[in-house]
Amino acid sequence: MTHYILNISPVAILVHAAIPLTIILVYALVAIWAERKVAGFIQDRLGPMRVGGWHGWAQSIADLLKLIQKEDIIPTDASRFLFKFAPFMMFAASYAAFAVIPFSSSYIGSNINIGVFYLLAVTSVLTLSIIMAGWASNNKWSLLGGMRSAAQMVSYEIPTIATVLTVIVVTGSLNLMTITEMQSGNDILGFLPNWFIFQNPFLIVAFVIFFISILAESHRVPFDLPESESELVAGYQTEYSGMRWAMFMLAEYADMLLLSLLGATLFFGGWNSPFGDFMSGPFWSFFWFMLKGLLLVFVMMWIRWTLPRYRVDQLMHICWSILIPLSFINLVLVALWEVIF
């Protein structure tokens, strides 16, 4: 049923590159608007209402146009090259990771057999770019934000990887397309889809750990310490303005989507329809996939507008003394379960 558009011609490569980019850009515009709307509704407000007519749908576009027009301010004593380069590197890292995400039953950027490994490796570059931005700004607040972020991302990569590993234990494949295909069908209890979250009770625990870790990986409340606006002003973004700042914003939202989509692929059946063969096919599979991803994004927003944030040492405590041991124990339990059943 699945056939991959894998062609080596330059045009095909460009098309391949353009599809995720389009998705990211459209998503970022929608998500920033949606974040503000969600925040507004949760806080008994309305959020943007003016630009574009219906519920201010064009607000993000207007903001983008404004940001493009803004002056590109570089602090005098900043390390100019690194300062200019950091936002692009950050976006490049999260964009590159989209290559291995199977958006639909018939589309994946690059169907390599080490997909998950590639994704986790490429997103590690985000840490580097954040330190780069924090250090190059020559601002103490930025530096603090950058250091916090480095510590946080490096630490939280471990539980993320450990929980991803639990899924790999079940699938035996690193290819995300294969992982998704393994979740087709509705066999559990006769009606539930074959998603990994329903297959194994320990995978539910794994998902909880995974979700907490991706909250921290993508700097969302309650783990938004690198840019905690009430402590560090704006963290590593303090000195950025205009388009460079917009790149950070874009990368951050792209990262959020990337990790949510990864979660959807690993635990919620990727592009599989929850109703078996009903509403499946290349287009519908894309729809289901994005819906799952966006639902996770919505939960992230919902959490953001509910909770206060952790302190930096508590954040580390949660990671090192709760999540990491738990995720490894869980890994062993999942493996045992697989051996027994």
Partner: protein, 211 residues
Amino acid sequence: MVSAFKNSWITFKSIFTGMGVTIRHFFGPSVTLQYPDERAVLPKDTRAKLYVNIDDCIGCNLCARACPVNCIDIETVVATSDVDLGKTSTGNPKRFWLTRFDIDMAKCMYCDLCVHPCPTFCIYMVPEYEYSEYDRTNLIYHFSNLEPAMVAEVKEKAEKEAAEKQRQREEMMRKKAEEAKIKQMEAKKKAEENNSGENDAQSSKPENGDP
């Protein structure tokens, strides 16, 4: 170990309680007022802008003196005897031309202290709040309704009358002074006479009694 699980459970429970509260609000009504389209109805005595009903003003300057920031600037000219400025709606006679009644709303701190002393209730706050300006000088409101020409005329008239009065007064003064001089001379004469043996008490009395 057990306590760690218990703590996690409590944490998760409190997080879900909080999320329950926010999702209820998510579907609840909003409190936003879409400002230029909808406007809040302000109570009628909201303090948002000072207004002066200049027809009722008697130029008593009480409001200017009550103002803690001196944002009220009043200049009055005495009405000449040939004009009658009439009365205010409260029945107080008006005796001054109000050649200037400026309120600098940029300085005003909306304290309401100028409103209370006014004997004719002509200065008060109105609930009008949309009066932002690009230039600060535009926030100086001129309430005097006299034309510049009129102001000049009134001033001239008042000056003339004042000059006339001054002249009259001076004349009176001079007359008085002359009379006083004459009397003094007389008194001197008398005194000299007294020195030569007369009683002075009788002669000095009418002098003092004379205005």
